[in-house]
């Protein structure tokens, strides 16, 4: 079975973080639908050639965040109901890190607070335009 996930072992980002964030994004974007069955820990570990404990840790964390559900004997699924919402919320940490990084960079360039805010507002207006609004 092929998988939509990829990991880069040479990256300085821990493998479990790479996989966890990808799965969250896939659920938040609807690439994985509520109720969809996920590969078993063993199958995904083999598919990606990574340690099975790494995959198990990702599943455990996503389960704690309400993104996926695991029922003994049946396997793991994208959570129904709140699954997508949980994933969107769980992506909040990712968003915060990305935005903090961007702001630190532009501050280093010597930009004023007001100008940064103006740019952020412009970009929000652009990407959250009604035509692009998905949800």
């Amino acid at each position: 079975m092929a998988t939509i996930f990829t990991v880069d072992p040479r990256s300085g980002v821990p493998l479990y973080v790479q996989l966890r964030d990808q799965m969250k994004r896939a659920v938040a974007l609807g690439v994985l639908s509520p109720g969809e069955r996920l590969p078993t820990v063993k199958a995904l570990a083999l598919e990606l050639t990574i340690n099975p404990n790494t995959v198990a840790r990702v599943y455990r964390e996503l389960e704690n965040e309400g993104v996926i559900e695991t029922s003994p004997g049946r396997g793991s699924f994208v959570a129904r109901g709140q699954g997508r919402q949980s994933a969107v919320e769980a992506c909040g940490d990712v968003a915060r890190a990305v935005i903090a990084d961007a702001i630190r960079h532009v501050r280093a360039l010597g930009l004023e607070r007001a100008l940064i805010r103006e740019i952020v507002d412009d970009e929000i207006a652009r990407w959250y335009a009604p035509a692009l609004e998905k949800r």
Binding site: R10, Y16, V17, K42, A45
Partner: protein, 299 residues
């Protein structure tokens, strides 16, 4: 508590005056994939040979699944040595036949699949095999037995990238079905991919012993740029979490081993024009550990 597949306590091995392994203590849980990294001469092969009873340690205790070394345990352990120990005149199929007779757990159909996967001709004599093919034959002999513990010393040496990946797949698959794997490799990416934990050895001493993910989470390089020269660091440079300080004119680079955010915070008070936190991969962490060389408390 889960039993440990392998527990090594205070292992010492000397050859004359030189110390190959100095007071090594390791506890490898059942089902783990454990990577051993170190420059040549770090003591990896000697450690493996001590585990297997091929050399007699000067001190220390080794247990497998809580019991001391015995014939029974030996049947559960498979070893792939770094240097081929195969007789030049024997054929691959003869080696597999020996393995089959010696080990009731030998799986003939798996052996056939693996021969295929590694493009090995079992009718060839060892002398006709390349270095990589010899490694592959030893890998097939080891994995076809479904051992509970695999000790693999550079199990991808001489193999092409595709066959290297096949070895890693076997390692992951064995661990997924409950086996324990202890392997050394100069291919740091292999350890990064497959290992739960990595031990870094130098001159027979353990420098680091931790999960790969937690090392990557903990160790970062903080780069700060200042308007003029880097100002004096005062207390910051003496922080034990900072392993190395590089100053290059306006640029300051700190190799930080823990609590990155706190140190970023301290640096921010010195009003740099920019601060960037750089992730470190296992190669960076390895190079750093080897360069510093000071023993590190295990994590």
């Amino acid at each position: 508590m889960k039993t440990e597949a392998v527990a090594v306590t205070g292992l010492v091995k000397r050859y004359g005056k030189s110390v190959a392994v100095a007071d090594l203590t390791l506890a490898i849980p059942d089902g783990a994939i454990w990577g051993l990294l170190g420059p040549n001469g770090a003591g990896k092969t000697t450690t493996f040979r001590c585990l297997l009873g091929l050399v007699q340690p000067n001190a220390g205790e080794i247990t497998f699944w809580g019991r001391s070394y015995s014939y029974r345990i030996f049947t559960d352990v498979a070893y792939v040595p770094e240097q081929s120990t195969l007789y030049e005149w024997m054929r691959g199929r003869e080696y597999l036949e020996f393995t089959r007779r010696a080990h009731p757990s030998y799986d003939s159909s798996l052996a056939r699949t693996l021969l295929d996967r590694f493009d090995l001709d079992p009718n060839k004599r060892v002398r006709e095999l390349s270095k990589g093919e010899r490694t592959a034959l030893m890998v097939v002999m080891a994995f076809a037995r479904h051992p509970r513990l695999l000790i693999l010393d550079e199990p991808t040496s001489g193999l092409d990238p595709i066959h290297q990946r096949h070895v890693l797949d076997l390692v992951v698959e064995s661990a997924a079905t409950g086996a324990t794997v202890l392997f050394s490799s100069h291919q740091i990416t292999h350890i990064e991919r497959a290992a739960d934990r990595v031990s870094i050895l130098k001159n027979g001493r353990l420098l680091l012993n931790e999960s790969v993910d937690s090392l990557k989470e903990r160790q970062k390089v903080i780069e700060a740029t200042f308007e003029r020269e880097v100002p004096p660091l005062n207390g910051v440079a003496r922080d034990p979490r900072i392993a190395r300080v590089d100053r290059m004119g306006k640029v300051l680079r700190l190799h930080v081993h823990d609590r990155v955010h706190e140190i970023v915070h301290e640096l921010e008070r010195m009003s740099p024009t920019s601060i960037t936190v750089i992730d470190c991969n296992l190669e960076d962490i390895f190079m750093d550990a080897i360069a510093v060389g000071a023993p590190h408390p295990s994590g």
